[in-house]
């Protein structure tokens, strides 16, 4: 169980911005999200960053019920 946040065009593609997903790790979460193939493809794109509990992660990490996972498309700048 992790709280998943989508930003920018990811939210447009998925049709949601925030959802609770049952997954014990980031890789399990990605697998669960791949029920939406367009979203899964977008999340695999270049320059996509993932933050767990507001810190960027590059490898797989374990998730707890309290985890917040954010998928960040390439940043626009301000």
């Amino acid at each position: 169980m992790a709280r998943v946040l989508l930003f920018g065009r990811f939210a447009d593609i998925a049709g949601w911005r925030e959802k609770t997903v049952d997954a014990a790790s980031l890789s399990a979460l990605r697998a669960a999200l791949s029920v939406d193939p367009r979203l899964a493809e977008a999340l695999d794109g270049p320059s996509v960053q993932v933050a767990v509990d507001k810190a960027l992660v590059r490898a797989d990490v374990a998730l707890t019920q309290a985890s917040e996972v954010a998928f960040l498309p390439p940043m626009s700048g301000g």
């Binding site: 930003f7 065009r9 447009d12 954010a70 960040l72 940043m75 626009s76 700048g77 301000g78």
Partner: protein, 152 residues
Amino acid sequence: MSVTLQTAPFDPGALLTRFSADREETGAIASFTGLARAEGGQTTTLELEAYEGFTDLEITRAVDAAIHRFGLQDALVVHRIGPIAPGEAIVFVACAAAHRRAAFEACDQLMDWLKSRAPFWKKEHGPDGSRWIEPTDRDRTDAARWDTENEQ
């Protein structure tokens, strides 16, 4: 030092008035105001998304780094989020230093960083629909001017 993300419009002049008050040893304040352009009617609204708790922390880190790198006395960043109308201020950056070179360079570097590397997602709404914006090549090369071997 202060970093603020806010949905409410702000007056850059009011921010500069407060930032420049009571400074007996500040010789130089450089400021930058970024405004939303109408693009001849092609942009009716700009919409900026931030990740609260993350975006503000990343900006605070960038401002801290600029304070140390350029020897600033103080710095201020105010950034709008949410929908922004043409002519409204998107961002205000002010840098205070003893001398002008440091104030100018820090303000310039912070803006280059904000425009290309700050975690915002930006959508332009116009008569022909909406589109997500990414940094231009120019934004990326401007930001790269400040990269050093000691930094990422």
